[in-house]
């Protein structure tokens, strides 16, 4: 598999374990200093000249959040040198619109969780659950959400990751093996356990629970299948759910595969 720029940088520095991803040292290697001080109204920023830069991180941020911010600013330093951008480092989530922020986020994900280290460690976990997410997040010192996105997008298992707030779906991403016709519902369905987790009626799911696929996907044939869902709270009034496809017929290409009429 072809290495990304962030992964090439890590290999140039001989990084062979997640614990060696020392962001301040990596920043120094590419000409950037990292400073921590109180910032008001943003998590981080970068200012640089021709070959030197200073990255400033809000000293009140959590250590995992800071790591993401440094990696994100290094993405700007790698791809947007000489440009002035209005930047708002948000929590990492899949962005649909191509933008410098998406480029910086993607660089950050590759720097913090390079595929050549992430995939072998992810394979140690048989099931895609938040237990696996938490174990990997601890190894890579990344947030639960960023790690869950990485795990789903690395096609560990056929799954969709969906984030909901009280006003509906905020974002989602799917494993490459899940066909695009499985598009998650905008609103949480009353059948889903996630609804109870979001509104605090039930606690976070310790294990995935089986539910009809039509609770998650608004398609004519969804009621023929079942999926597994597991939700966690990620913020005030926000949950993230792993929806795992358990029926291989859902993964077939529509034209050649299963149809309820055949």
């Amino acid at each position: 598999m072809r290495l990304t720029h962030a992964e090439q940088l890590l290999q140039e520095l001989g990084v062979t374990e997640p614990g060696e991803i020392d962001l301040e040292s990596i920043a120094h290697y590419v000409g950037a200093k990292v400073r921590f001080r109180k910032l008001e109204g943003c998590e981080a920023h970068i200012v640089g000249g021709a070959d030197r830069a200073i990255i400033t991180i809000n000293d009140r941020s959590s250590s995992r959040r800071s790591r993401f911010s440094i990696a994100h600013e290094l993405g700007h330093w790698r791809y947007h040198r000489g440009r002035q951008l209005v930047c708002r480092v948000d929590d990492f989530h899949p962005r649909t619109v191509a933008s410098p922020e998406r480029v910086a986020d993607s660089f950050a994900a590759d720097l913090l969780m390079p595929h050549y280290l992430f995939k072998p460690l992810a394979r140690r976990h048989a099931k895609l659950t938040f237990k696996a997410v938490d174990a990997l997040a601890a190894e890579f010192k990344t947030s639960r959400t960023a790690t869950a996105i990485r795990l789903v997008e690395s096609d560990h298992s056929p799954a969709v990751l969906v984030c909901h707030g009280q006003k509906g779906r905020k974002w989602f991403t799917r494993a490459p093996s899940v066909p695009e016709r499985w598009f998650p519902r905008e609103e949480l369905d009353a059948q889903s356990f996630a609804l109870g987790v979001l509104f605090g009626k039930i606690g976070e799911d310790a294990h995935p629970r089986r539910v009809g696929a039509d609770a998650w996907f608004d398609r004519w044939d969804a009621s023929d299948f079942e999926v597994y869902e597991q939700s966690i709270r990620t913020g005030d009034g926000e949950i993230v759910t792993i929806v795992t496809v358990g029926d291989s017929r859902m993964l077939r290409e529509e034209d050649r595969g299963y149809s309820r009429f055949c």
């Binding site: 060696e20 040292s25 120094h28 290697y29 400073r35 640089g48 400033t56 002035q84 951008l85 209005v86």
Partner: protein, 138 residues
């Protein structure tokens, strides 16, 4: 990469080069001396070479780590800056087109006074803005 960093890595690079030369100079018979399986011998050599290269690359990270620690110790106090002056300097720096400037931050008018002063201090340190002493004369 700085000259210092290059010098620090020189001995390991020489070792890697010597190892590579050794492998390339060896005859087929020498390569097979201790092992009759040429594929296994090649794989062992490749492994040895890769390990030496990784070791060499790790020295870059170690050098960067040492430099970060040294920089942390040598950091001095920063001079105070008048906020009106700092905002004016920042606006000027953002509109100048004669030197490369990389910046990913909020708009100047969205930044707090403390954030503006921090940015101006960073720009002075990077030579994007003249230092306090230099600007006094203007």
């Amino acid at each position: 990469m700085t000259q210092d960093r290059k010098r620090q890595q020189e001995p390991i690079r020489l070792l890697v080069d010597l190892l590579a030369e050794d492998i390339l100079a060896a005859s087929d018979a020498e390569m097979h001396e201790d092992d009759d399986d040429p594929d296994r011998a090649a794989s062992d050599m490749r492994g040895l070479f890769e390990r030496a290269l990784i070791l060499s690359n790790k020295s870059r990270l170690a050098a960067a780590r040492a430099a970060v620690a040294a920089e942390r110790q040598s950091r001095g106090a920063t001079p105070t800056i008048d906020i009106a002056d700092a905002r004016r300097q920042l606006r000027n720096a953002l509109t100048r087109k004669d030197r490369p400037l990389t910046m990913a931050a909020r708009n100047e008018n969205e930044l707090s006074d403390a954030d503006v002063i921090g940015l101006v201090q960073d720009m002075r340190e990077l030579g994007i803005l003249p230092s306090d002493d230099e600007s006094d004369g203007h």
